[in-house]
């Protein structure tokens, strides 16, 4: 291969924009070392950034919001509400006389609204047939990968109060 020449004796631009495709692909030791050093430096900076972020990270505080009177919902009944802000639709289901569950209504796949499918006793997302367990919001079937965020409820006299979200991915 007579036309092949080592690209070290020529100016840098001739190496980088060589006429020969073989030289374009050629990586010399110095370039490789530079690449390694810069990428590991980048990794270090990235890790420091993550570390700093977790140090200054503050816990999100949730408001206490009364959402429903307990006897307003029959067993197997459903109530829609918004929590923690007006833009976060949630679904409340009364499973038994003394069992209430509430989940975010946004499907974790593409944010369609899930609804309670009473016959099968599960939550269904109609967009792509994603199914979630009514017990804990975990995925039963379909495209979603993550469980639905759960709204933690507390009883306060005859009222149900939303206390915080659990399993939110932020």
């Amino acid at each position: 291969m007579g036309w092949f020449r080592k690209p070290s004796s020529t100016p840098l631009w001739r190496d980088e924009f060589s006429v020969f495709t073989a030289d374009e692909r050629y990586v010399n030791r110095r370039q490789f070392t530079k690449f390694l050093t810069l990428t590991s430096f980048g990794m270090l900076v990235g890790n420091l950034w993550i570390l700093a972020k977790s140090v200054v990270h503050r816990k999100v505080s949730y408001p206490r919001v009364p959402i429903a009177a307990m006897d307003a919902i029959p067993v197997g009944g459903v109530k829609m509400f918004s929590y923690p802000t007006a833009n976060d639709p949630c679904i409340l289901v009364r499973l038994a006389v003394d069992r209430f569950v509430a989940f975010s209504q946004k499907c974790t796949h593409l944010s369609c609204a899930v609804y309670f499918e009473r016959e099968q006793n599960r939550l269904e997302c109609p967009c792509h047939q994603g199914f979630f367990s009514i017990e804990d919001g975990s995925v039963l079937q379909g495209p979603p990968q993550r469980p639905l965020p759960r709204v933690v409820l507390e009883k306060q006299d005859a009222l149900l109060v939303a206390v915080r979200m659990e399993g939110e991915s932020e």
Partner: protein
Amino acid sequence: MFGMEFYVDPSRCIGCQSCLKACEECDTHRGVSMINFDFVDRKDTIATAAYVCWHCDNPTCAQVCPADAIKKYDDGIVGSSLKPRCIACSNCVLACPFGIPKLVPQYEQMMKCDMCYDRTSVGKRPMCATVCPSQALAYVTPETIAAMRREKPVNTFWFGNQKITTKVYMMAPADADEIAIDVADYIWEGENGLVPQAF
């Protein structure tokens, strides 16, 4: 690759222009022929010369390209200009000592022979060499050419002080080792040979 080399012998060219048509057939540049075809001295002779890119070992066209659009590949082929890069500046057209690259204005791109890279890279012969009836353009093994021809394949050219070695061979007289071309000799000096005249 595949042990074949390209041999050009203009003295065998009969001017049939089959190579031009065969080149135009190619799907990668349909309708545009990349063969360089010359009438040598139309006034005094019917001699013609068809030839392809010589695929220099150190291609001048690529050296002068400001857009990095011409590349020499690992198997020695100098490719046509890369469409996304070519800026149609004509540097290569002016620089090539053989006059091979041609600017195609409607595409705003230089196009030249790439020795049918789609064919030769898989062991087929270039289109022009398959159709040439007198084998003025021949793509054969060195053994074949040595057995079939009296001329000697030469791939060293001198243009003034510029020495060029190429992948494609020119068939030269048996005693020639290289071909030297005095460019100034070919400058047109007017009808009576006395009055220098600008084109």
